[in-house]
């Protein structure tokens, strides 16, 4: 087949006329049979070799091309009776409604015809042909529901459409033949008015009298292992059409009764309808013998499994693996643990040279079943599988220039991905680390960019196969290049869980250990710099230990922590310094040091936290929720005071003395004030706890360096607080009350979801019920909102995907049309900023320090 390279100027879609169908056809199909007894395609059958070839040995009898040379050719059949094309059924309906059944004129009076015709002519003159359909739409609307033809004065009946493909006038059916006759009589001028350009299409072409038979190349049969031939669904459908069409002809010619002919006609209509679309309401889908519906034209195109989403938008690749992920804090940030099983299946092509010949031979000797081995050897275009039999020959014939596909080794480049790939960091380059087990292992610090957890998540791994691909992956996609997020300029990779808590406790002013303990701790996480370790005195503080993992000459200051020359002078490390998404310390390190240094420092900080926490031990007990008696008493008065003042407000309201706030009704004002009063209590109690409770309390430590906050402790030990549903106090339930045990219109705190008890002391039944209400509500809310917001994000990302910041700072789309005149109005590259701003003072300080 000759390939022509040309730019497509424009495409116009139109209808095929019966003449065109015959003209483009090369065969008239006369028999539903496919093959003769010898298994050769029957002449005039649906697999006729004039329709193209799908067998490697045969040649097309139309163009003499072989398989893959011949694009295939159409055939046709003459239909015994016309059939409606299901995709145009709506248009047919509209044309029936808007034209006269007697004279086929459009049902508009001459005045209106002239009006619309004038508009169309004017638009044509102006070259605005694309607006003509709008005029036609108006004309059609005007021609509907007309009782008497303005031209021949014939009385008209309402045409009713009965799904899927029947039209009724009164009680009489309008047969496709009649429709055909009516449409044929429509003048070209009227065609334009009802919205069909006669240059390209005629209304009657929507009714098929000749049926095109698509080439066999678009419906190839497949040979099963048993040697049987399985035909394509389209071929099945086509043979149904041809068979019924033949019977229809036979019966008509034999002068069979009209009922039989009509039955066959209906059947033909059914087959032709399902040929185009096998998923129409009111039409039972045509099925295989197995009961599974046939995949006809429409099903090939639409839906997730269709041509667009499956074949054109969806791509599949080799050299990829997918399995469950699990955490391993002992491997580096930029590594991925790969099961040996997978490492033996995925391969890296390694070109044989004089220098690596012996090394590669060791892989071939191991073969495909021993790790580290090799699976294939490529010699030019020949691909040889390494097996026990071929091993010897391949080994002796191995020469420079060949390519060995060897198993994965530690340090190989890979691309790691978790769906949904919503941002750049969803696909990153990791170094392979072959490990036992069956899951991919990843450092828990990279969970955040992938949005991964270990409740069964699976991830995909790809092995780049060329030097270019590997280089690209390393330079653009390595984890260390992705630490700072382009969306806010902060670090997406940071310490989590034990690593935060460990470092927090380690850098407590009171933490101290012997020199031996400190050295043991640091050696265990890979700090072996004797210069640093020898500096330790007999007693070593936690801050000194933490400083040992920091680079020398590193400075850092925030509102709590001060680091000078790589020494933690004061302050305690917490999520604000080393956590993810706002760990300013980590971000500063990332900015000042190279990628590999960052991975090293981050890894050490992370491991130090974990190692120290393991050494010290950390847990939580019920007694952590034991709040000192005096604080509890104070809290009690705070709560009862709040309830009293809430009741006071309610009292005022009931006496009609409550004044409404501007823009609010009295009821809204009441709710607002009461809510505010009651919500306050929990916050006041929380503040009181964090001020007074000892900072050795495990729950407090967790709230400062780990998960949760002080409110969680307040809820367990003092009070759970007001339960909110849809932004207000609880409203629902019975008429004018929340539960049957309250009086109607009871607005008191306890009747509207205020929980004054703590989790530890226990809720009363009413409180428990209110608490369950909000619990269920938030559960439903998250379950329903997640997919909604996910889809919203996807639509947004798709709409904006090819916007780009040009060199002049403007944001433009693919047509270079301007969307924004300065990126973000201030032309700041957010990924180079600190949360969207640039701290000029800091930069000046840094620069002046360097020049000193």
């Amino acid at each position: 087949m000759e390939t022509v390279f040309k730019k497509v100027g424009s495409i116009s879609f139109s209808l095929l006329s019966p003449q065109q169908i015959k003209k483009m056809a090369h065969v008239k199909i006369v028999t539903p049979e496919l093959y003769d007894k010898e298994g050769y395609p029957v002449e005039g059958g649906l697999m006729d070799t004039r329709l193209g070839v799908i067998d490697p040995g045969l040649r097309c009898r139309t163009c003499n091309g072989k398989l893959k040379e011949c694009p295939g050719h159409f055939g046709y059949i003459e239909l015994g009776r016309p059939a409606l094309h299901i995709s145009y059924i709506k248009a047919i309906y509209v044309f029936l409604q808007t034209t006269c059944k007697e004279c086929s004129r459009i049902l508009l009076d001459d005045e209106n015809i002239q009006k619309y015709q004038g508009k169309i002519d004017k638009l044509k003159e102006m070259g605005k042909d694309d607006l003509i359909p709008k005029v036609s739409k108006l004309a059609r609307a005007g021609a509907k529901n007309v009782k008497k033809c303005p031209h021949c004065k014939a009385k008209l009946n309402v045409v009713k459409f009965e799904k899927p493909s029947t039209f009724m006038e009164e009680t009489k059916r309008v047969s496709p033949i009649e429709i055909l006759e009516r449409f044929e009589k429509i003048s070209d001028a009227d065609c334009m008015l009802i919205g069909v350009n006669p240059q390209y299409a005629r209304p009657e072409w929507m009714i098929m009298t000749v049926f095109p038979i698509p080439p066999v190349t678009m419906r190839p049969s497949i040979t099963l292992e048993t040697g049987e031939r399985a035909e394509d669904d389209l071929t099945h459908k086509l043979s149904d059409i041809v068979r019924i069409n033949q019977r229809l002809f036979e019966n008509i010619n034999a002068g069979a009764p009209e009922i039989i002919v009509e039955d066959l006609w209906d059947l033909l209509q059914y087959h032709i309808t399902t040929f185009f679309n096998n998923d129409i309401a009111q039409v039972p889908p045509a099925r295989h013998r197995s009961g599974q519906p046939l995949k006809t034209i429409t099903e090939r195109i639409k839906s997730k499994e269709g041509r667009f989403r499956h074949n054109l938008a969806g791509k599949r690749v080799n050299y990829a693996a997918r399995t469950v992920i699990s955490p391993d804090p002992k491997i580096e940030l930029n590594e991925v643990g790969v099961p040996t099983l997978i490492a033996m299946e995925l391969t890296v092509p390694e070109r044989v040279t004089e220098w690596n010949l012996d090394w590669l031979k060791t892989f071939i000797k191991n073969g495909p079943k021993v790790y580290p081995g090799a699976n294939y050897v490529l010699d030019g275009v020949k691909k040889k599988k390494i097996t026990a039999e071929t091993q010897e020959v391949i080994l002796t014939e191995l020469t420079p220039g060949q390519i060995v596909e060897r198993h994965l080794l530690d340090g190989d480049i890979s691309i790691f991905n978790r769906q949904p790939s919503l941002h750049r960091m969803s696909i990153m380059c990791h170094k392979i680390r072959v490990l036992p087990g069956k899951s991919f292992r990843l450092n828990p610090s990279v969970c955040n960019p992938y949005n991964a957890d270990f409740d069964g998540d699976e991830m995909n791994l790809h092995i780049p196969q060329t030097e270019e691909a590997r280089a690209e992956a390393e330079i653009l996609m390595e984890v260390e290049t992705q630490i700072t997020s382009p969306k806010h300029g902060l670090n997406v990779i940071g310490c989590i869980e034990d690593a935060v808590t460990g470092n927090y406790l380690l850098t407590d002013d009171r933490t101290e250990m012997t020199k031996e303990e400190a050295i043991e701790l640091l050696i265990s996480i890979g700090v072996e710099d004797s210069k640093k370790l020898n500096k330790f005195k007999k007693k070593v503080t936690g801050k000194e230990i933490f400083s040992a993992v920091l680079p020398e000459n590193f400075d850092f200051v925030n509102d709590k922590v001060t680091i000078e020359n790589g020494q933690l002078k004061s302050g305690q490390i917490d999520p604000k310094t080393i956590g993810e998404d706002n760990g300013t310390l980590l971000r500063d390190i990332n900015r000042s040091y190279s990628g590999s240094e960052c991975v090293d420092i981050f890894g050490k900080i992370f491991k130090l936290g974990i190692a120290y926490l393991q050494k010290r031990g950390f847990t939580i007990t019920t007694s952590d929720a034991d709040i000192p008696e005096d604080i509890r008493e104070k809290a009690k008065t705070i709560i009862s005071d709040a309830i009293t003042s809430a009741n006071d407000i309610i009292d005022q309201y009931e006496k009609g003395k409550l004044k409404n706030l501007s823009g609010k009704t009295v009821e809204q004002t009441l709710e607002l004030m009461v809510m505010q009063k009651l919500n306050e209590t929990r916050n006041i109690v929380g503040k009181m706890i964090s001020k007074t409770v000892s900072d050795t309390n495990n729950a407090i430590i967790m709230s400062r360096a780990g998960k949760g906050n002080v409110l969680n402790l307040a809820q367990t030990s003092i009070l759970v607080g007001q339960q909110a549903l849809r932004g207000g106090r609880i409203e629902r339930g019975y008429k004018n009350r929340t539960l049957s045990l309250f009086r109607e219109h009871d607005k008191s705190p306890e009747a509207k979801g205020f929980v004054r008890h703590s989790y530890k002391n226990g809720l009363n039944p009413v409180e428990f019920f209110f608490h369950a209400m909000t619990g269920r509500d938030s559960l439903m809310d998250t379950a329903l909102r997640t997919p909604k917001s996910g889809y919203l994000y996807r639509r947004l990302a798709n709409a904006l995907q090819d916007l780009k910041v040009e060199y002049d700072g403007t944001v433009r789309d693919a047509n270079k049309t301007i969307i924004q005149f300065a990126y973000g109005d201030d032309n700041i590259d957010v990924s180079r900023s600190e949360n969207g701003t640039i701290d000029v003072k800091k930069i000046v300080n840094e620069v002046s320090k360097k020049t000193k």
Partner: protein, 80 residues
Amino acid sequence: MDISVDITAHILVPKHSKMSMEEANALLEKLNISINQLPKILKSDPAIHNLNAEVGDIILIERNSPTSGKANYYRAVING
């Protein structure tokens, strides 16, 4: 079309003004674009109702911006 409420007086409607020929040409020159690469605004847009703008004019919109304080935006007037 008559507008009974002057929306340009509303606090959320930024200031719209018609650019002179010289200004417009200078802008297109600066951005190195033709007028149809600019964002569009309908001639019937209520915000430019009082500007007597014609198709092909360029409207300057002076907006407040949370990032840069003030930000200028330009729109080409189109039919409709």
